[in-house]
């Protein structure tokens, strides 16, 4: 058979599996151990004093190591939000839902999460929310320990007070 008569080879099978034993690093491990105890831990930059949550052991603005551990609240204020209507195969949240940046009390950078527990058209910048944790016996070193954030009913934080964090 000539090459012209043969069909081109359109696929080959090359099974590939690599196993990695990943570890979270020092700062993130401490953060995740805190989550397993129902606490949220951040780290403060020794130069600009910003508190990072979750911490990665460094301040990316100042390029210095962060060592001082800071307890931050599991309550905070919505800095920005989006109402998500496109499904994600990897996300087990009914559509539509609100994904939010929450500025936790005591932190300087927002925390990424979702909001449940109120009509979506009520979600707004400045709204006060609190973490909804899983049952205490199901707490584990994973962000799945926080199911979502939900409104606290406290008065909104005025936009002007949030400006510097946007």
């Amino acid at each position: 058979m000539s090459d012209a008569e043969r069909k081109p080879v359109r696929s080959i099978q090359t099974p590939m599996r690599l196993t990695y034993h990943y570890t979270a690093g020092i700062a993130t491990s401490r953060f995740l151990h805190g989550i397993a105890e129902g606490r949220i831990l951040g780290q403060r930059c020794p130069v600009c004093t910003k508190v990072y949550v979750p911490p990665r052991g460094s301040c990316p603005r100042c390029a210095v190591a962060t060592e001082e551990e800071v307890h931050v609240s599991d309550r905070g204020t919505i800095l920005t939000f989006a109402i998500v209507r496109v499904p994600s195969e990897n996300l087990d949240v009914p559509l539509p839902f609100a994904c939010v940046h929450v500025l936790l009390d005591g932190a300087d950078v927002p925390f990424f999460s979702v909001v449940q527990g109120c009509p979506l058209d009520e979600v707004r910048i400045g709204m006060r929310v609190a973490a909804a944790w899983v049952e205490p016996d199901r707490l584990a070193p994973t962000l799945q320990s926080i199911r979502w954030f939900e409104p606290t009913g406290e008065p909104d934080v005025p936009f002007d007070q949030l400006r510097e964090h946007l």
Binding site: T14, L18, H21, G25, A27, S58, P60, A65
Partner: protein
Amino acid sequence: MREVAIVSFAQSRHARRDLRNEVEILLPVVQEAVQRSGVERPFDFTCSGSTDFLQGQPFAFVLALDAAGAWPPIAESHVEMDGAWALYEAWVKIQTGQAETALVYSFGKSSPGDLPEVLSRQLDPYVVAPLWPDSVSLAALQARAWLEKSGRSERDLAAVAARSRRDAKGNPHATVAGDFAIDDLLDAPYLASPLRKHDCAPISDGAAALVLVAGDRARQVCERPAWIRGIDHRADLHALGARDLTRSASTRIAGEKAGVARRPVDVAELHAPFTHQEYILREALGLAEDTQINPSGGALAANPMMVAGLIRIGEAARRIHDGSARRTVAHATSGPCLQQNLVCVLEGE
């Protein structure tokens, strides 16, 4: 050609397994290199080398930027290669006149994965990689061919390992160091004959950083700048069967272009992750008998992937910084069986 010098160098303590994340490993190293350089941030250019395949974490090189001081946004680039090639890019950038100072760093965390298996993924994806030839087995093919051709013995290989580990006793960054009798080493079983464990570089996690400065500014910030007098890199054919594995044509040409033979070489830091490769590299570079080879212990003492080549350049620069050498040569390799090679000639004044 614009004069460019290495004015500072720093490296981590290269552990078999470092539980810190890439930024936690890198940050103190970058800070040390920056502080020693006497150059204020921001650098005109920053270039890094790493590969996410090692730790199995996508975009680790982006996360690592947190250690570089990337705010306000900096001029930055990354190579999926050993940091020695990041240094080359930074050197070119300075040659173009677009930069006077550059920060170069690299990091490698091999411990989360199975390194020899991971390295098989760099081979031809259709006809070679599906057979999973690991890096040690490929090096063993090369070693066998080289032993046969050179008439050398496994004892000669063990001698390189023993010397490297002994020299590494003076290197606080080494993963493996100590006194080992050649006979004891030869008693060990083969990993892939003719290679035993001591013939293979250890698996290490680590990072390194250095600072490049052009012209008179280098003389202002550094007492004895390590001037890059020649630098070149070349690649051999990727098809292993199409190469003469017993010699390194790309190293030979890179060495000629970099001007290695122009004057005597006090110290050569050769990136040979396997013992037999040191002999191949020595021959390719035409190094004299009195050139001291790998006083740091070389890659056989510490081999953080994507870093060990940059460390060779840093170690060669360090000898000039401390005044113990006048002219040094550094070599870096990447790919299977010495496929890609970079040669850098450093001189003091």
